[in-house]
Symmetry: C2
Subunit: 456 residues, 2 copies
């Protein structure tokens, strides 16, 4: 029989990994809560028509579809079946699909429950999503998203708050020095407008977004290839030369954008956010205007966020988000502006691992293993174990009367810091011998002293 495996792009998580992942998620949740976000959860699969057509053609292809139950072919007519076309057959034999992200289900939730929701609604959601992407290093077919969004208000205070929230989470994780990059879609639109390339907005911003990777000349080359004129490229030269602090960048943008109303609106939004954050201060992160930031996403209409790991770690973005003025329009509810951010759990995990930032306590498990010397001794041990557990101290009895070395070895392999030895002598003295596995020190304690020693 061959050893069983799991589908490519999926993962098993060992106890160590689960505990570390939970530590990150719990930290994020705690911060979400202090910022007033409340959790919701949506089903793993949605009706296909909720998801299809919301992520572009590529997205539609990457959505995992669930086969209808029972005799699913009975609903397919002769003609369609004869055509033998996978694409056309899919919608007849599959009505449900696995969630592709948390944003579309959230929009669906808001529309479906609009009468129960008190707006503005601040929700967070931490659940897995599935994508039939080609698996590669660091890209999985099942992964968690951690999103916080506010819907029902256009107030810029929310953008301010989301910058602070990023800072709060990463500071609490002791991940100092992250850079929160900020841009505004209105500025990108304004630039496209003033250089006369409005019809090429997407191509233009996609190229600009690659500045980090392919450099100034690379970006210009791509713009040319996409049909952006030499004149236009010359006009945006200030973007490439942009240095200095927020106020210098804002001045540059104001000059570049000239009379573009949209563009200037974007500048004033950027200005409010940066000025306010400067006033309130951040704990360990820095906020930076990055006019090349586009995140390749067409649905942002205002602020665009992206978080970069500290400079010394080679890792792409560990978070991102932005404002989208028409979150719920796809489901028929107009004028519901939303703004949100997302945390990249898998990448944050890798960064914390690389920088050794997981606290040792995270993967602590059982604190004490009681050695099993036989039925009577085990009962004596279980009385103590029962008490310790009631006090919240993780304690275990080795289940079998195995050789001493094997039992000690078990404690050792599981990094259990203490063992208790209790045989005839201890039983008659009503004590327990506690052995520190690291130092080898032993002491004889009564139950009260034992629980005091092992307690927190």
């Amino acid at each position: 029989m061959k050893k069983p495996g799991i589908p490519k792009g999926t993962r098993d998580f060992s106890p160590q990994e689960v505990l570390k992942r939970n530590y990150i998620m719990q930290t994020i949740k705690d911060c979400f809560t202090t910022y007033g976000f409340q959790p919701i959860e949506t089903p793993s699969f949605e009706n296909s028509d909720t998801l299809m057509g919301k992520y572009g053609e590529e997205g539609d292809r990457l959505i995992f579809k669930i086969l209808n139950s029972g005799d699913y072919l009975s609903k397919v007519n002769e003609e369609l079946y004869a055509a033998r076309d996978s694409n056309k057959l899919t919608s007849k034999i599959s009505e449900k699909a696995l969630r592709y992200d948390l944003t579309v289900p959230f929009a669906r939730y808001v529309v479906q429950h609009q009468n129960e929701i008190e707006f503005p609604f601040k929700r967070y959601q931490i659940q897995p999503v599935w994508r039939a992407d080609r698996p590669q290093k660091g890209r999985f077919r099942e992964f968690f998203q951690c999103d916080a969004d506010v819907v029902g208000s256009t107030s810029l205070w929310q953008e301010v708050e989301l910058v602070q929230l990023y800072d709060a989470v990463f500071s609490k994780l002791n991940l100092n020095g992250v850079v929160i990059k900020l841009n505004n879609r209105k500025i990108l639109s304004g630039i496209a407008q003033v250089i006369g390339a409005e019809d090429k907005l997407i191509d233009f911003t996609v190229a600009l977004d690659k500045l980090d990777k392919i450099g100034e000349e690379g970006v210009k080359k791509e713009m040319r290839e996409k049909g952006v004129s030499e004149d236009a490229i010359k006009k945006v030269q200030p973007l490439f030369d942009s240095v200095g602090d927020a106020s210098q960048k804002l001045d540059m943008l104001r000059e570049l954008l000239g009379t573009s109303e949209t563009g200037l609106q974007g500048v004033s939004e950027l200005e409010f956010i940066t000025k306010t954050i400067k006033n309130l201060g951040l704990q360990t992160a820095t906020l930076e205007i990055d006019v090349t930031l586009a995140r390749g996403l067409n649905y942002y209409t205002g602020a665009i966020f992206e978080v970069a790991a500290p400079f010394e770690v080679k890792m792409g973005s560990i978070g991102g988000g932005g404002r989208y003025d028409d979150l719920t329009g796809i489901f028929g509810l107009k004028n519901m502006s939303g703004v949100g951010i997302s945390f990249g759990l898998d990448r944050i995990y890798l960064v914390l691992e690389e920088l050794h930032l997981f606290p040792e306590t995270v993967s602590e498990n059982t604190k004490v293993l009681f050695i099993n010397f036989g039925e009577h001794e085990a009962l004596y041990a279980m009385k103590a174990i029962t008490k310790l557990r009631q006090q919240g101290i993780p304690a275990e009895l080795y289940p079998d009367t195995a050789k001493m070395g094997k039992q000690m070895g078990h404690a050792d392999k599981r990094n259990i810091p203490y063992v208790v030895l209790a045989g005839e002598a201890e039983m008659s003295a009503q004590t327990y011998t506690l052995k520190n596995m690291k130092t080898g020190d032993q002491e004889q304690l009564d139950l009260k002293a034992l629980s005091g020693r092992l307690g927190y």
Copy 2:
């Protein structure tokens, strides 16, 4: 546009519901941890051959299959396609399936990672599972399972521990008076043996398991229908008349089982568990031998557990489990005994709701809402909010400068217990006016006093 919905048998969870569910799950997790269980997680979907054939024909039908990506029909040969048989087509167009329970994926995990695991391995797993069951009240197509299992030891101390663990969880949830029912598959086998109905073991135990629902006569009728002889039915009469405490029941069983070695082995296991638990004591649950308990599951080989909600609540079982001597044999690893229990999250939720046992603190969200009087005042407010949040106090600014009544109404609808009003007067005095939304009391505090008042 029609209002969007979700697939039947699935659920959206509102903030209140998520918080209550998390409260139950966190309580279970905390107890699992003090008992030395460690968390693992497995992928939502497995290779189909991992799951298919493990749950019987009915199970195979209820497993959700995932359609292959891309041009999935290209792998189907002409002949098979022409047959137009849903069943036969499935294995050609679907290679993955959603997890149906946590036990089979756990068995797969143990075999796959056997060289990394230190045995005995105590693992817990709290993840959703999916079943294409016909949805009905209280039965869903997506639901969480909460399982704790130990593999790699046949020690009965584990059964003892699992009884204590049930008691610990339900006591911590303040759900007093649950009944932990205990039986042993060997006793059922022994009975079938001594009444000469070994070939009818399953039918016999399935009928007996219904005693609660259909009464003594109903059970006998079903046994007769299944071909159990009158003589055999007469022999098991003591099972129906069984009353009294554990030791009386054990005596009755010993007499009934006569010389059946298997049966007597079962009795002695039951005796060890009940005697030890009596010795150690339980906090709020009671342990009861129930010889009719079979749980309709064929894979149990030793202890069988089931937990009934307190008498006054009409609710089926809220937990169950047992020992299975050959957990991992299906994946080629022999001699790996396992024993485990499961908690029924959805039913526990309903019971706690019915008995009003959710602590009020569970659904507490934001503690204080700062009223937004305009940009300057909002900035002043945000300075305080930033400090409060850093101390872990959930605080919010109303994002817009809306009418006072609307902002107060928002606090009210969200059950936020305090609001802060801070305008010109407060700003010049460097204070904040804190209003208790329940009593209407107001007091003027500086930032330090404010955080003291709102802190824990």
